[in-house]
């Protein structure tokens, strides 16, 4: 039976998650150089179109269609066949299946958008589009099915991922790393040319929208309105707050309290609490956020030291934050909070942590390897990277024939 309070909440949540993609576009766009801001924004924004469409056509079916061997959904839901105004029998049983489907669509869109942070300022737009379609089909849809699909093998194993620590953050983070390695650094990176973020207020604006939208992402993943959604909401805010502060302190210890640092910390905290939000007592968001900031901070230092130009640190923030958060489920989870969850270490059982580890390891490996292979293929066929002079001029002009900010004009 459709419950209209639950439906209101899920539709709002879907809208909130949709807004995260423009938010991410600003978050990333503000951090690149002026000549690449449109290109960076476009790599997120266009996915609202591309993935938004593919999800209806076949993505939802692959991810959430009736299960084939634990690996993938079948084609029963292709083109929204059998997806209507009444609830699904197995997912979100109090809201129209269409609402659940579109909520999930927004997750698919932003997951692809997330990994673009690793490849900005040098990727050929046409190659990017092809890669996005392949990645969505070969990596995202299967992983979503494994973890969230009715009958998915990781779901059956008992791996818990409330709102996408594995499906969204680990998969995006590992893929960004694979692609950054394939693409090699931006021109000037090795020479330590300054790559100053061109507009930090834009980054903050984006962070604000991300944080706002994340309430839909995490608390919406309760799929009902009520106690569980409220609990997940609080855990989310707790982790974001704790991580933002922690990052500020870490930055202060080394230099000064950075605005970009607070924004980065908030995102790290939000990413880390994602898999856990609805399984843990809300105050556990605090330690999750603090540890997330520390892990992500030093992973970022490491990445930079390693000379890897994973440009906007998707691996360090989302990949490693997502891994930590997924494991944290195995530590902090409690069935008193969510009877569909489990008890973690603190509440008396180590088994869940082992399961979480299995989930992390399998998806991290799969995402990295599959993405590498897909990237290699696209690179062979049409080349992933723009020509050197196109990179020098900037991708806004070379890929899109536009520039972000008008020049001298009458």
């Amino acid at each position: 039976m459709v419950n209209n309070g639950d439906t209101a909440w899920l539709l709002v949540s879907a809208a909130l998650v949709m807004l995260m993609t423009p938010g991410l576009a600003l978050f990333y766009g503000g951090m690149v150089r002026r000549k690449n801001v449109l290109s960076t924004i476009m790599m997120s924004f266009v996915l609202l179109g591309l993935i938004g469409l593919l999800w209806l056509l076949y993505g939802y079916s692959l991810g959430f269609g009736p299960n084939l061997g634990g690996i993938i959904g079948n084609l029963d839901f292709v083109g929204l066949r059998n997806v209507g105004q009444s609830p699904s029998a197995v997912y979100a049983t109090t809201v129209p299946q269409l609402a659940y489907m579109i909520f999930q669509a927004m997750f698919a869109v932003i997951t692809v958008a997330l990994w673009t942070g690793g490849v900005v300022e040098r990727t050929k737009f046409s190659a990017f589009l092809i890669l996005a379609v392949l990645w969505f089909t070969v990596v995202y849809c299967p992983v979503a099915h494994w973890v969230w699909g009715h009958g998915g093998w990781l779901a059956k194993l008992g791996v818990l991922d409330f709102a996408g620590g594995i499906v969204v953050h680990i998969s995006a983070g590992m893929s960004a790393l694979a692609l950054a390695l394939l693409l090699r650094p931006r021109k000037g990176f090795k020479e330590k040319e300054p790559m100053e973020p061109h507009n930090i207020p834009m980054v903050i604006m984006g962070t604000g929208l991300l944080w706002f939208g994340w309430f839909g992402f995490n608390a919406g993943s309760a799929l009902t309105s009520g106690g569980l959604a409220s609990s997940a909401f609080v855990a989310t805010n707790a982790s974001a707050a704790a991580a933002a502060l922690t990052w500020m302190v870490l930055g202060w210890i080394h230099r000064r309290p950075s605005v970009l640092g607070v924004a980065t910390g908030a995102v790290a905290g939000l990413a880390a609490v994602t898999p856990a939000a609805g399984f843990i007592p809300p105050l556990a968001g605090v330690p999750i956020g603090i540890v997330a900031a520390v892990i992500c901070y030093y992973c970022m230092v490491l990445r930079a030291k390693g000379g890897i130009d994973e440009s906007l640190d998707v691996w360090a923030v989302h990949g490693m934050g997502g891994i930590w958060g997924t494991l944290a489920v195995g530590i902090f989870a409690s069935v008193a909070v969510n009877s569909a969850g489990a008890n973690g270490l603190i509440h008396g059982s180590g088994i869940q942590l082992a399961k979480q580890l299995a989930g992390v390891a399998s998806v991290a490996t799969f995402a990295f390897v599959a993405t590498w292979v897909l990237g290699k293929i696209v690179d062979r066929i049409i080349g992933l990277r723009v020509k050197e002079d196109e990179e020098v001029v900037g991708l806004d002009i070379s890929q899109h024939g536009e520039r972000a900010y008008g020049g001298i004009s009458p």
């Binding site: 330590k192 930055g251 000064r256 980065t264 970022m300 230092v301 930079a304």
Partner: protein, 112 residues
């Protein structure tokens, strides 16, 4: 006629402008530039690291003045723009062959 180009700290524009107005030097053209010299650049932060910015924001004043006004103009600028720390800037004096006021077409000294 000489063209005076002064590169100064941005926050000194107001005092310099006011002081020049007091001695009757009104006309000037100003622009935001980036400078480099003995004053080192500045280290800015990135999310976890830092990077050096070699060029610091400066303001360039361009004013064409009569030969007899050059001395006092330089004087005022030096006095008003100085802090004593590195980075105070430079003044350059360049020869000018001619000047024209577009509104009237006047040429030479009467144009400025």
């Amino acid at each position: 006629m000489k063209k005076i180009e002064a590169i100064i700290r941005p926050e000194k524009l107001e005092p310099v402008r006011t002081a020049l107005a007091e001695i009757g030097v009104f006309g000037m053209t100003v622009s935001e530039v980036s400078g480099r010299g003995r004053q080192m650049g500045v280290a800015l932060q990135w999310r976890v690291g830092e990077y050096r910015v070699e060029f610091l924001p400066k303001v360039k004043i361009e004013a064409v003045v009569l030969d007899e006004d050059v001395g006092k103009t330089l004087n005022i600028i030096v006095r008003k723009a100085r802090t004593g720390d590195r980075g105070d800037g430079k003044i350059f004096v360049l020869p000018v062959d001619n000047a024209i006021r577009i509104r009237t077409g006047d040429e030479g000294e009467s144009a400025i």
